[in-house]
Amino acid sequence: MVGEKVIELQDYVKMVAEQSEQRVGVKMEGVTESVKIEEIPVKMDSEKMEEIQTKTALLPIPEVKLEDVKESEEMKEIMLASKTEEVKQKLEVTMAVVKEGETIVEIQVKTEEVVDVKKEGDKVVEEQMLEVNKEEQQTEAPPKDEIQPVKSGKESLLDLLGAMKVEVTNKRKFKALKVQRTSETAARPMPAAMESTTSMFQEATGMADVPAPAPSETLSPELVAAVSAAAATLPSQSQAESELLKKLRQHEAIGEAQKNGDVNNIGVIIADMKVGKKPNGRQNARPANQIRFDEDGRGYTHDRGITAELDGGLRRRRSLFSGKRLNIFTPSTEPEADTDIAVPTLWDMELANQVALSTNQMPRNGFEEMIQWTKEGRLWQYPINNEAGLEAEAQVPFHEHVFLEKHLEEGFPRQGPVRHFMELVVSGLAKNPYYTIQQKREHIAWFRDYFQQKEEVLKEAEVYLN
């Protein structure tokens, strides 16, 4: 019962996450993985936490809470037991990874071992937190767990996590970061740890503002380097590396498609996502409200396509199909090649047209008509996206639009009335949501030309000071 509710809630949260993701899409582009993950919570904390909390408040949470309480008590015990030399050693290993990979793909890279370490490391922090404010920890736990899917709602992360057979919640990840910091400063007290997380958020947002490289089909070299560094920690290095890179590319492709208005992919991925529990004893002690992935490492199953469905439909033995066949063709089991995705020829278009004309396409009610209009692009797509039609601009980070002073560096005087005028122009342009970045640049360039042409006049008037 609770589990169902939780799954529902997670779906909802994911939905919210996707929307928010679209909203922050501009910044996400090209930024390295970990930054993206961190970035959402930053937004999330202010915008979505309320929603999530109200949502959780509606649920029959008490049981969950009780579990959490028990669990945290258990954790304390485990933690006490696990404070060993070995743990600390492995924490150092984590640190090494982090250093090599520039903290970028740190979470994706955790092997089971390392995660275990972190789990135990979590407990270190958790214990502190519990000591400081056990009550708060208990009440906070459910919403925090709800945030987890929000943060990992990015399908990229899901893919990665699913592929890596690693269970990582962001909570734990943050804890891991805390542990790293605490290991640096030899177990700082709790407030300091909190501070470090907030500073991490700041870092993350700071990184997000870094100009993103233009999106391309290939991944950025930094990311590739990070991935290979991460893969180095795994037993089968080359395989893991290629797997990671494949996943990242996949994600980029999906992200691109999504920016171009193709939101179906996410729906497909979510629909195919499997939510289940691991039967592992120790892991069962964890809160049930987490997304788990299949054991087969795929994370989700691909759509098997129409042929799979067909097999089921035709498997029933009917006398219509039970007779012997022509025995001319040999059915091949190999998947269909991509030849059918070639550019449609005139013949194909003509056939499609004929089929469409032969069937009855008249809408039967207002809804069907609106569906038709939506397909034709006359109506807004749902969910409403206020950046619809701005696909080209989606690649441009916002600071390109807002901070235009750098365009005044060349060709304008450093001070004086012209400079003052241009600053006003730039400030106006910064607030203009209708121009593309190219138009804004052209606008400034026009003034540059204009003032250069009028240089003589301005000099006579003693205003063109340089």
Partner: protein, 606 residues
């Protein structure tokens, strides 16, 4: 959770009509007019926009909505270049594209293989003629279609094909498909041989076209089938995977292969299953067509329809083949031919699954389907069930033809529900079938045939008077009904049965003015009616009218009047004189003894 809403209200007009009772179609003609009106309005607007793009450049929408902007229908690129060629191909300007290609060749420019293949596709698809524009009137479209049905010798397709520096599979495919499309079947096979000689392999579309052309190039059934099997084997050898359209073409070709088609069609279905290709509705339609030939007397394989229906039951189909839309109407035809109401219900249930209603096709096919279904219902079902379907189908989905209404009348007759007739008559009037004289005659004769309770007779009389008024006013522009003797007789007898003597009397007089002759039975009915009200004056008048029509039964009638009514001597004398005056000529011409009016007076004069 809101319950699933069924978007079907049998009393409501279709959504495509204007939400105005005046513009709700009541007849099939109105249906056609109104259903096309919205679409043609849209097309007219589009035509204006596309013809005058300069007036429609203002783009209000943010983000931009391409389908609201004028389409460029005119050629923009004037110079001789490959871009211009591609533009002409895109705008489907066949002649202009061919000219451009020739100019390019003359200028010595090489055209890229893709562009020349596109051009070849265009020419073959449209049979070397400019396609008929959508905005032209329909009549020209028909003419254009028939003109396109002929394959021209030495046309541009072959000329350009021969000009191609290297002919690949695609070029051959386009040429063969074009030849098959425009009826040059033998030529298509020759081209295919040519292609094989050049060591090229065909693609699946080529084979589809050739299979559909196979029955045209062979005479005997076995030869046709052998050719098809040969093609399929070559497909397999060339590692070409068949698709749904291959098998549909195969089944369609089998329809013309006579007796061996039955077994082979089932084998084909098994082959489809083995290949993992789900049959579409067109495949099943072809199978049904093979097993239920319209002309064949033997209905041995009736269970094929059942098997097909079990196979497709509850499944949602998407149109994949232009022939898919024939399934429902032909399945219903088979149900009607075999009088299988259960199968008909199954077919109709399938129609209601998901989006399957789209597969019913255009309004013409819809009316055929529902007409057959309604015919079958009237034939096989109890009248209550028929009326239930009638209520569900008639106002919104189906506009029956006169034959359909006659079927309904017969069903009413079979189950003794003639009391429904006045109601049905209202529907007939609404549907505009009130000017079909055979339908009206049938309705009237059914009303006049039997005796009913007074209430029903009363309603019949009202209905009959309505019919009469229809004859008289002639309904403006529409053709007025021509009075027939039976119609008049029936109306009169209905009126008599409802004790509407005055109106019946008016009708009797109308016979005279319209030069129609009432039947003897009607005279008897009149007499019975007069007897019951004991009105000797009218009785004598009746005899006089009968005499004026020179009915052979007049003397008998007169005799019965004399016997039935207690007339005074004076009355009798006047009566006989009146008869004599009326029938002088007839009296001479009919010299038989008993029939002369004077003989009637014999017992009176001592």
């Amino acid at each position: 959770i809101p319950k699933k809403k069924t978007w079907y209200d049998p009393t409501a007009p279709h959504y495509m009509f204007q939400d105005d009772p005046y513009l709700t179609p009541r007849t099939s003609a109105e249906f056609k007019l109104y259903s096309l009106s919205q679409e043609s309005g849209r097309m007219a607007a589009n035509h204006i926009v596309n013809k005058n793009p300069k007036f429609f450049q203002k783009d209000f929408a943010e983000p931009h909505i391409p389908c609201l902007m004028p389409e460029t229908m005119e050629l923009c690129i004037e110079e001789v270049s490959e871009a211009a060629l591609l533009e002409r191909i895109m705008l489907r300007k066949v002649k202009a594209a061919v000219d451009m290609y020739d100019q390019l060749l003359q200028a010595g420019t090489t055209v890229s293989p893709d562009a020349s293949n596109d051009l070849l596709d265009l020419i073959c698809l449209y049979g070397d003629r400019d396609p008929v524009q959508d905005d032209k009137p329909e009549a020209e479209d028909v003419v254009g279609y028939y003109l396109c049905g002929l394959y021209l010798e030495n046309n541009n397709a072959e000329r350009i094909f021969n000009l191609l520096p290297e002919r690949d599979t695609r070029a051959y495919s386009a040429l063969i498909r074009g030849m098959v499309k425009y009826g040059a079947h033998v030529k298509a096979f020759n081209t295919y041989t040519d292609m094989l000689n050049n060591r090229l392999t065909a693609d699946v579309h080529t084979f589809n076209a050739l299979i559909s052309a196979a029955p045209e190039v062979r005479e005997r059934y076995t030869e046709k089938w052998d050719l098809i099997v040969d093609l399929l084997n070559q497909m397999n050898e060339q590692k070409v995977k068949p698709n749904l359209l291959t098998f549909n073409a195969l089944l369609k070709a089998l329809r013309r292969c006579g007796s061996l088609a039955r077994a082979q069609s089932l084998h084909t279905l098994s082959e489809m299953k083995a290949m993992g290709i789900a049959p579409s509705l067109a495949s099943f339609d072809h199978v049904l067509g093979i097993f239920y030939k319209a002309a064949s007397p033997s209905q041995g394989q009736t269970d094929i329809l059942q098997e097909v229906m079990t196979e497709v039951a509850g499944r949602t189909f998407v149109a994949q083949d232009p022939d898919d839309v024939n399934f429902f109407s032909s399945a219903m035809r088979i149900c009607l031919d075999t009088k299988d109401i259960e199968a008909a219900y199954k077919v109709h249930d399938l129609l209601r699954v998901g989006e399957n209603w789209r597969m019913l096709g255009d309004s013409f096919q819809q009316s055929i389907y529902y007409g057959r279904m309604f015919n079958l219902l009237c034939m096989m079902e109890h009248i209550d069930v028929v009326l239930k379907w009638y209520k569900e189908l008639i106002p919104s989905l189906y506009y029956p033809n006169p034959q359909g209404m006659r079927d309904l009348l017969q069903a009413l007759d079979t189950d003794n529900r003639l009391d429904m007739i006045p109601q049905i008559w209202k529907d007939i009037r609404r549907m505009g079938h009130d000017n079909k004289s055979d339908l009206v005659d049938e309705l009237l004769s059914l009303m006049a045939r039997d005796k009913h309770s007074p209430e029903i007779q009363e309603s019949f009389a009202v209905c009959a008077l309505d019919v009469k008024s229809l004859y008289e006013q002639g309904q403006g522009a529409r053709m007025a009904l021509e009075w027939t003797a039976t119609a008049m007789t029936n109306i009169t007898s209905v009126l008599l049965a409802a004790q509407k003597k005055q109106q019946a009397w008016d009708m009797l007089k109308l016979f005279k003015t319209k030069n129609r002759v009432p039947s003897e039975e009607l005279m008897e009915e009149f007499l019975a009616s007069i007897k019951s009200s004991n009105d000797p004056q009218h009785a004598m008048e009746l005899v006089q009218i009968s005499a004026s029509f020179c009915l052979p039964s007049t003397p008998k009638l007169a005799e019965r009047v004399l016997q039935a009514f207690e007339l005074s001597e004076e009355q009798k004398y006047d009566y006989c004189l009146g008869l004599l005056e009326l029938g002088t000529t007839d009296v001479n011409s009919t010299p038989s003894e008993g029939s002369h009016p004077l003989h009637l007076l014999r017992p009176l004069t001592p």
